[in-house]
Amino acid sequence: MTVGGWKYAAASVIGTSHQKSREGVCQDSHAVRYLVRPAVLAAVVSDGAGSASHAHAGSRLTCDLIMSEIADATTDQLFEQSFAHNTLGRIQARLSEEADRRGLAIRDFACTMLVAIAAPHTTAFWQIGDGAMCFGEPGAERYHYAFWPEKGDYANVTYFVTDPKAHDELQFDTVEIEAAEIALFSDGIERLALDFVAGEVHTGFFNGLFPHMRALPEGFSADLSKRIDEFLGSDRVNQRTDDDKTLVLASRIL
């Protein structure tokens, strides 16, 4: 089985402030996989809204639906903005259906969406809501970000795929470089990964993570995922955030 040389790992961990109130349910979800046809690495993170009673289901459905949409697309379609909007439309329809079925409002499934689709020389990024995505080229010393998190008047305010105007808030970009290292993370660890004073990526943060991937075998690493899980649950992270947190890492640097 080919995985295009990609190695990847991911974990979502519940925030300390939610451990009691939500009976231990983490509202973040993620999905990361190498798809043979089309030959891309696809990674998704979705952060469920605190106010949404079914945010966990919302973020799960969103991740799964995006993965299956990507698997059904052709390589040409994948990097079109229209594909992102079509996918968003399908997510909204699916969540709306789910809400009707359970006698709820679509708002009860509110969640964000971070998507990275990486082919050898093109990578597409889509985003609604907070969290961020970073990537690096082989041999480069610095990491780039896809979209800088925009903080509105309130730090807690964000956009969700369920918003009536979500299409207006969808951020889309493609980069024509070889993104050999990609990270997606929810807002719980934004402050660790991004330097909000300098307005750039905390290179030191990723330099502490990506080199661990070099020695890994190709494909999904359960071992590294376990270590990410431990890191996200560690005091170092919990001192900075009481929110749920997710980190997805993918690398194809040897």
Partner: protein, 654 residues
């Protein structure tokens, strides 16, 4: 002239020729320095960096002559000039040392009050206010004027005693001579002097009483300035100086004239008796400015009167208020701000009357109030009706859509008979298409409602997050509760601790008697099997002199197992002779020491427990306020979301 330079050990001379010796510098400011004096701990000497000008020396000289016992008591009044030689030029002056006082603002601002005057409540503030008025009255009775009234020149002790400092800036009248006060602080300056230069103005006692009224206002109104409020006219707030000049007393009931609103969280003037309210109104009015401002003497009986007419709040023992009021104004202010207004007194309760059960009931009664449930949009959407304006929007849209469909139909109708040339047919069709899309777009539904929906969702999420984070009880509350539980447990355990300690003393008593008994059997004088004089000497060398010293595991070279066993058997044989004398009892001194130790421990525990209810309430207050605000905010946005969803649904209909 060489500038005078004070230094430790320097000898200076007073007016009567007596010498003083500088000890060390106590304080240094922009203007000068203050020095302690050897063997005169109650006085200090003040020097100016610039030296004393002849005018200053004359003013201070006059003040020294005018000094009185009363003035020295309430102010750092100059008492003597000091000179480098007995006949030299004065270089500084002596004044009473004001020690252990704090600046007045540390008392009147609620936050610093709790740190610097932790036990000060309204009676203390009234007492201080009376003392401030008395201090002003003393200066005025002496025919003098303070001039530069401000909170920095007023110090307050832990006993509410006040002292006016920086007296060298006072306006001094010495017979026909007048020594002016050239400085002032604008927020304490009366309207008639606002904006004027202080240098040409004659300061009067009437001017001082404006500053006095401001200071008393600070004391009684949580450190607020009487002229700081919300100006209802024009853009932005008035400066305090402008408000003073324009007689805009923010707390005046005549709001039409002042055009000012007081800050909503500060209690109104009416929480004090009418006599006090009237004094403030007179002091800050235009009439006051024309000479009828209350004198410093007038404040004293009014403030003292209130001191005798206070009630203690049943809900919070740190709150005192005018007894004619229907409810506690401080509870209202605390609910509005989340800030405790007063510290609380640690009451030491007599050991006998102390009732832990009742106190613990009080402690347990302080629970976080978690009444009030959030409303979620799903629960209330059915209660909302769509915005009536949506009917209009939809009607307009229907019209546009019908026109849109009509326009393309019309175009098709025109071209379908095939009578027109192809070019014109195409043009007509294109025209029809353009009309169709334009009209359709014009009929697009209300952007306004979509925007409202987006804002409602966004704000609802923020409100939810705030509500969510207001849920856990404050950590300090949990910690304090745990500590109080430990204290209660320790207190309840005290009798058994005493019993255990007595048992221990008793057991030690047996040991002590046995020790004394065994000490009587000197190895020297005993006959022990197998142990002759030589071995006795050896034991002696190892400090084993009597039966009490013998252990079964002694390690002495030359003492094999058989000898050791013989020695131990000897000791046991003596021990068997011992009879414990229970009648002897424990040394009473030991019991006294134990009881004293336990009494101290108990006092400390009672002390800590007694302050428990108040401490817990103080910790809970800000949490409680935040919780109810977060709840109100969440419910507000829940309703907004419900309304927006109903609107959006209605909007989606044909």
């Amino acid at each position: 002239m060489i500038a005078f330079e004070p230094r430790a050990g320097l000898t200076l001379y007073g007016a009567d020729g007596r010498s003083i010796v500088l000890d060390r510098e106590i304080a240094k400011g922009g203007e000068g320095s203050v020095w302690g004096i050897a063997d005169k701990p109650d006085f200090v000497a003040k020097f100016y960096h610039q030296g004393l000008s002849p005018e200053q020396a004359r003013k201070l000289g006059a003040m020294c002559r005018l000094k009185s016992e009363h003035l020295v008591k309430i102010a750092a009044w100059p008492v003597d000039l000091v000179r480098p030689t007995a006949a030299g030029v004065p270089q500084g002056f002596l004044m009473r040392r004001i020690n252990g006082y704090s600046q007045a603002h540390l008392l009147y601002t609620p936050k610093s009050r709790r740190t610097h005057f932790p036990e000060a409540q309204l009676p203390f503030l009234l007492h201080t206010s009376v003392n401030i008025a008395r201090a002003f009255a003393t200066v005025h009775d002496a025919g003098q004027v303070i001039g530069d009234v401000n909170h920095g020149n007023l110090l307050v002790s832990k006993d509410a005693v006040v002292a006016l400092i920086d007296c060298d800036s006072f306006e001094i009248i010495d017979g026909a001579l007048r020594f002016p006060c050239p400085v002032g602080v604008p927020t304490y300056t009366p309207p008639e002097l606002q904006g004027k230069s202080f240098s040409g103005v004659q300061r009067t006692q009437q001017h001082d009483t404006f500053g006095l009224a401001v200071l008393v206002f600070h004391m009684l109104f949580l450190g607020r300035h009487p002229f700081s409020g919300i100006f209802r006219q024009g853009q932005g707030d008035k400066t305090i100086e402008d408000a003073i000049r324009e007689f805009r007393f923010a707390y005046s009931p005549n709001r039409g004239a002042t055009e000012m609103d007081q800050p909503s969280w500060v209690p109104p003037l009416s929480i004090y008796p009418p006599e006090i309210a009237n004094l403030f109104l007179r002091a800050f009015s235009a009439q006051g400015a024309s000479g009828s401002r209350p004198s410093s003497h007038e404040w004293i009986p009014a403030l003292e009167g209130l001191s005798h007419n206070l009630r203690r709040c049943p809900a919070n023992e740190s709150h005192f208020y005018f007894q004619s009021l229907a409810s506690c104004p401080w509870c209202t202010a605390e609910r509005a701000t989340g800030i405790p207004m007063f510290g609380f007194t640690l009451t030491v309760i007599g050991m006998q009357g102390f009732d832990i059960v009742a106190l613990w009931a009080q402690i347990e009664a302080v629970r976080p109030d978690e009444s009030g449930k959030p409303i979620y949009p799903n629960d209330i959407t059915s209660q909302f009706q769509p915005d009536p304006r949506i009917q209009e929007t939809r009607a307009r849209r229907r019209k546009k859509r019908i026109l849109s469909a009509g326009s393309i139909l019309l175009a098709i109708l025109i071209v379908s008979p095939g009578l027109l040339p192809p070019a014109i047919s195409i043009a007509v069709l294109i025209g029809g298409l353009v009309a169709m899309t334009t009209l359709w777009k014009q009929g697009h539904p209300g952007e306004k409602f979509a925007r409202e929906h987006a804002i409602a969702l966004r704000s609802y999420e923020a409100a939810y997050s705030r509500w969510d984070s207001s849920q856990p009880h404050p950590e300090a509350f949990v910690r304090t509760m745990k500590r109080l539980q430990t204290h209660r447990h320790e207190l309840q355990e005290l009798p058994s601790v005493r019993a255990a300690r007595m048992v221990k003393l008793q057991a030690e008593l047996r040991g002590k008697q046995l020790q004394r008994f065994l000490e009587r059997f000197k190895i020297d004088k005993e006959k022990i099997a197998g142990i002759g004089q030589g071995r006795k000497n050896l034991l002696q060398a190892y400090g084993i002199e009597d039966a009490s010293d013998v252990r079964f595991d002694i390690a002495i070279k030359g003492f094999g197992p058989a000898l050791k066993a013989a020695l131990w058997a000897w000791r046991l044989s003596k021990e068997q002779l011992f009879v414990f004398n229970s009648a002897e009892g424990i040394d009473p001194a030991d019991i006294r020491a134990l009881d004293l130790e336990l009494a101290q421990k108990k006092a400390a525990l009672v002390h800590a427990l007694s302050s428990g209810p108040a401490a817990l309430r103080q910790i809970l207050l800000p949490w409680q306020v935040e919780r109810s605000r977060a709840l109100a905010n969440l419910n507000h946005w829940s309703r907004a979301v419900a309304q927006a969803e109903v609107n959006t649904k209605e909007l989606a209909r044909w």
